[in-house]
Amino acid sequence: MKDIVIRTVCRVIVPFVQVYGLYVIFHGHLSPGGGFAGGAILGSSMVLFALSFHLEAGAQKLGHETSSYLESGGGIWYILIGLLGLALGSNFLTNRAAGLGFGLPGQLFSGGMIFLLSLGIGVKVASTMFTLFYNLSEEEGSGGDHQ
């Protein structure tokens, strides 16, 4: 798509969308939202970028390798936080009872592991959307070339 209007608008919009996505992730424990929603917003911003420019341009911004690192990293992060509760002498995925809770309810840095877990989920969801979009569209593109 080489429409200058779309490109310009997207270039302007994408950072805002991403900031909004991060907001949704980070304020998941305070307001409606959370890892899944915020991750979806983040992922869709990248998809938007790739759609409006070119697939390759998108791939330059966020390489396949990086996205698969993020992909696994989100899950590993989640499990490691779960094991943190275990390391602190409590059960798997324990939050406040294991001493992870800090801050007053309502503040940004509060709720202990919930914030961190949301981050992991957000990264995971965003990279999943992006990776899936990329692989499927590349597949289609290469299939078209062969025909």
Binding site: S72, G75, I76, I79, L80, L83, G85, N95
Partner: protein
């Protein structure tokens, strides 16, 4: 610390599967040892858990430290550790085999994906075995469904894609049924935890009879699609015969059984026993299992592809497990449950042996197996042991499960099922024994393709499983002792 072991083993498997795609280039060679060591660790953990449960009884684990109705609970009882042991042991042995076999069935680029899916499959099955929560059950069900499809379709074959697609569609249908059932149960009881649901259900029966029945039937349908009970088995032969041999072994040996174990838990721990006096669910399961036993054997008799024959035979064997559930007696249930392990041993061994034959001689057709016993005596010897076990010759573990099933049927005064069991044994004999006879004593056919040497790393797992078949045929004591405590009717 030891109480955390069940959840640690799940977390370890998940962690390993997450790490697996990160192993690139140089580290790729580490994928296999890494996978094997994780599987070995889980197997060791499962053995230790058996010891733990034997010594201090069943215990429950509250994930996140939240008590049951609020948080997720894992319940580690005898049945759970039994299933965990079965799953992890067979998975370990099959993976040792797959280490060499997979390279000629799938491309090297996707090997790490295969390990990932394999570990995820094991993790989800262990999750299903351990969980005490309906929704967690559903989540793990989803994981196992998708990863099971993944390890079929990873072999880039037209047949594989078709089969796994069919499997996916039907399996997702089953998952949908289960989800709907879970929702209904939650709607009328307000709980997701098994124990609390069981507490609430007797009251709920009076108020919402249709809901509870619908939920029950949805569970049964969902799980029978997944475990390929007779009229819903149509996805199984394609899926299990076209998959790579290690996948077939795991799918046929374990994946269809874990759903049977899950439905067993639901039926006997969640739903009240009075329900079964009014609703003939168990009878329906029983007769479907009888049909499965007969139809599976008869279908298997007309097959020409060896893996397809084994797949049909699995349909018959899952019928035995369901027969144990449907008979609803201590001893019959013992027979059905011990058949989970026994069949996992022998069927995975048979699939691996078939895979070895395909690997070494490139033969899939049963007629071409003539005289192969002379060329591959150890492989065919293991196959023969498996075949004897299928027939139920004493001294093999197939006899043990049939013995207990038949006695269980007689305990309940239903000799008809004994006759069915024996008849199916005879049918098994009719299609398994000629293979063995022809392989060893048949007139040799000149091999069409060149004969590859069988690597020891592939042969050893098959022999280990064959030794297991014999060993547990003579000393089933430990398994039976464990299961006797698992059954609380």
């Amino acid at each position: 610390m030891s109480l955390h072991l069940p959840v640690i083993s799940i977390a370890l498997l998940l962690l390993a599967s997450f790490v697996m795609p990160l192993l690139r280039r140089g580290a790729r060679a580490a994928a296999l040892p890494f996978t094997l060591s994780v599987l070995g660790a889980v197997f060791t953990v499962s053995l230790y858990l058996i010891y733990l449960v034997e010594s201090r009884g069943a215990f429950s684990y509250h994930v996140g430290g939240w008590p049951p109705p609020w948080g997720v609970e894992l319940y580690i009882d005898h049945l759970a550790v039994y299933m965990m042991m079965v799953l992890s042991s067979i998975c370990l042995v099959v993976m040792v085999y797959g280490a060499r076999d997979l390279y000629h069935e799938i491309r090297a680029e996707v090997m790490s994906w295969y390990y990932t899916l394999y570990l995820l499959l094991l993790a989800s099955m262990i999750g299903i075995a351990l969980t005490n929560d309906l929704f967690t059950l559903f989540v793990f069900l989803e994981i196992s469904t998708i990863s099971a499809c993944g390890i079929i379709s990873i072999k880039k074959d037209r047949e594989c894609i078709e089969a796994s697609f069919k499997y996916l569609i039907l399996s997702v249908l089953g998952s949908g049924c289960v989800l709907l059932g879970v929702a209904m149960i939650y709607m009328i009881t307000g709980y997701l935890n098994y124990d609390f649901v069981a507490q609430e259900l007797p009251q709920a029966i009076a108020e919402y009879p249709y809901n509870i029945l619908m939920a029950l039937s949805l569970f049964i349908v969902g799980f029978s699609v997944k475990s390929a009970l007779f009229p819903l088995h149509i996805w199984l032969p394609d899926a299990h015969s076209s998959a790579p041999s290690p996948s077939s072994a795991v799918l046929s040996g374990l994946v269809i059984k874990i759903y049977a174990a899950a439905i067993l838990r639901l039926l006997f721990r969640v739903f009240p026993a009075e329900l079964f006096e009014v609703v003939p669910v168990l009878d329906i399961l029983l007769f479907l299992s009888v049909l499965a036993v007969m139809a599976g054997s008869i279908f298997a008799m007309v097959q020409e592809d060896i893996k397809r024959m084994l797949a049909y035979s699995s349909i018959a064997q899952i019928g035995f497990v369901f027969m144990g559930i449907g008979l609803f007696g201590n001893r019959a249930l013992l027979g059905g449950l011990v058949h989970i392990f026994n069949h996992a041993l022998m069927k995975s061994m048979l699939f691996l042996a078939a895979g070895l034959i395909i690997y070494a001689a490139g033969i899939r057709n049963i007629r071409d197996l003539r005289g192969i016993g002379v060329r591959m005596p150890l492989t065919m010897g293991a196959f023969a042991i498996g075949a004897f076990s299928m027939v139920g010759i004493p001294g093999t573990n197939g006899f043990i499960s049939k013995w207990h099933l038949a006695l269980g049927a007689l305990d309940l005064g239903r000799p008809f099922f004994v006759a069915i069991i024996l008849l199916s044994s005879l049918l098994n004999g009719i299609y398994y024994l000629p293979i063995v006879i022809n392989a060893f004593f048949g007139v040799k056919i000149e091999p069409r393709s060149e004969h590859r040497d069988v690597p020891g790393m592939m042969l050893v797992p098959v022999l280990i499983l064959a030794a297991g078949v014999i060993f547990f045929g003579f000393y089933p004591g430990p398994i039976l002792a464990l299961l006797e405590q698992a059954i609380v009717l």
